[in-house]
Amino acid sequence: MGRRHPTRSRVMAHAGLVAGIVLLALPLVLGDLYLVRIFTLVGINLVMVTGLSLLFGYAGQISLGHAAFFGLGAYTSGFLTRLGWPWVAGLLAGVLVAAAGGLLLALPSLRLKGHYLAMATLGFGEIALFFFTEAESLTGGSDGLREIPAAAIGGFSFDTPTLKYALVWATAALVLLLAANVVRLRPGRALRAIHGSELGAQACGIDTVRIKTQVFVISAGLAGLAGVLYAHYIGFVSPSTFTLNLSLILVAMVALGGMGSLSGAVAGTVLLTLLPYADAIIPGLSRDTVAFLQDWESDIHGLVLILVMLFMPGGIAGLGRQLAVRLRRTSRTAEGGAS
């Protein structure tokens, strides 16, 4: 019985992969540019939420300041490429600056727990937002940075919506693949152990401070990477993007998907990113409905977060697991009845 488990989950993983590829190809096949644009945003959010999932979903360390790392990546790369740096250099710098910001925040605050860590990260987010708004010579102040060039590697520029879409999703797929490797092996188990019992983890010889610092830096770096993708996709960054609101949405995406589940985080990201663009997915949706979803977006996110905490603490992944258990049970009783 224990042997059937891995093959079954492998089948599920492959099915998920195929479904993902079909879904991704769809906007291109349909040639619908609106859809392509929205799904590019989904891909950017996925990179960011994968990082937050490692930190919050797996290690149980909350961050209410991830918008800051997103912003650090976006501004750094935007600023440098406007000076004429190649995109790849801007990308590396953006990731590094965001990761360094993560380290700076992790060192003092990872000794804090629960609400205190939440407050520290929230404070960091607000300080970063203040910096984005006030450091005009670097960030353009509240007007932001304009005319950020499109991503380019060598002489090849990703300057059409389709190319941008491909670049973002290639990055997102790569990030997800690497993260999926991490979570099912030794480091992933260490993260979940810290979440489960920090005392137990220490008793197993895990340097919990070190691992928490590492995952915080990785998480911040991935948010920075998402920021770089965003800056060169939109071509314009301003402080209004990097608010507490965004940090909260990211937390909601992880929680909706289910703690300690990457596939859940993917589902949460897709659902909540698409919410304000429901008209692109569901044809014939009235203009009023779409306007309602857009106006009340933050409220809906908050509501989702509360409902998930109250009624489905396992999130989408938890529901999936319950369903799988129930299916297995019914199939077993069916087999029993037949024999």
Binding site: L185, R186, R189, A193, G196, Q202, G205, I218
Partner: protein
């Protein structure tokens, strides 16, 4: 020379001296029990031995190395493993994964190696799983390897914590009330498990309330009362020690 040497260990909480100038030695290959009435300072002593708490005075040496002042994970890496009075399992993880975490410090796949699935990662993972299954067999939990730890009943949670501790490759294993909540059949099995662990070359220190188990398995017993050592010696002599009888019967009876 003793394997674990404790000298003048003292820990105060405000006006209360939880552990009061306690010295003792644990010799390799033995099962050493620490007993005493509730609040005698047994669990505090365990925390002081494993880096989860820092003494106000005194020191602990393990095979000559100073343990006092080291953080808990460092103590584990020296070869001292422990379980907890309130089991500290990873509830959302499977039974096997719990034991796999025990192999953490002597395996080396980090974030980068795991992410890129570099050569050697697969082999190490396979070896770790084999080792973890071996330890599960030792405590008769192998058939539950894929069950989430949170679904285990109390007695098996204690056994799982022992398997996880063994996976850290200890030479000294500290067990904090392993028989608490076990029925008599389970306690009997536990005694057998303790002998098997000792015969693997792991020295055991056990804090326990179950006198039957203590008198049965231990080579040496130390008795704490109100933080201080009041007796030590082989179990047969301890049972007859007037100070011990006074601490157990007098203390509880008078209250």
């Amino acid at each position: 020379m003793s394997m674990l040497s404790v000298r003048g260990l003292t820990r105060r909480f405000g006006g209360l001296t939880a552990v009061d100038n306690v010295s003792f030695d644990v010799y390799e290959g033995t099962i050493h029990a620490i007993i005493g009435p509730n609040g005698a300072g047994k669990s505090t002593a365990f925390n002081l031995l494993t880096g989860f708490d820092t003494p106000d005075a005194g020191e602990v040496r393990f095979e000559g190395t100073r343990v006092t002042g080291l953080r808990p994970h460092r103590v584990t890496r020296l070869g001292i493993a422990r379980t907890f009075q309130n089991t500290q399992l990873f509830d959302s993880m499977s039974v096997l994964e719990n034991v796999l975490v025990g192999t953490h410090w002597h395996t080396k796949t980090g974030f980068l190696r795991a992410a890129l699935h570099l050569p050697g990662v697969r082999a190490e993972e396979r070896d770790s799983r084999e080792l973890a299954r071996h330890h599960l067999r030792l405590v008769s939990l192998e058939h539950l390897a894929d069950v989430p730890a949170r679904d285990l009943p109390h007695g098996q949670r204690r056994l799982l914590e022992i398997a996880r501790a063994l996976a850290t490759r200890p030479r000294l294993l500290l067990l904090d009330e392993p028989a608490a909540g076990l029925n008599s059949a389970e306690t009997g099995q536990l005694a057998g498990t303790l002998y098997r662990i000792r015969d693997m070359g792991v020295t055991i220190v056990i804090v326990e309330h179950d006198m039957g188990l203590v008198m049965d398995v231990s080579d040496e017993v130390m008795v704490l009362n109100e933080g201080a050592k009041i007796a030590e010696g082989p179990p047969r002599l301890i049972q007859k020690d007037p100070a011990v009888i006074e601490a157990y019967l007098g203390g509880d009876g008078g209250a």
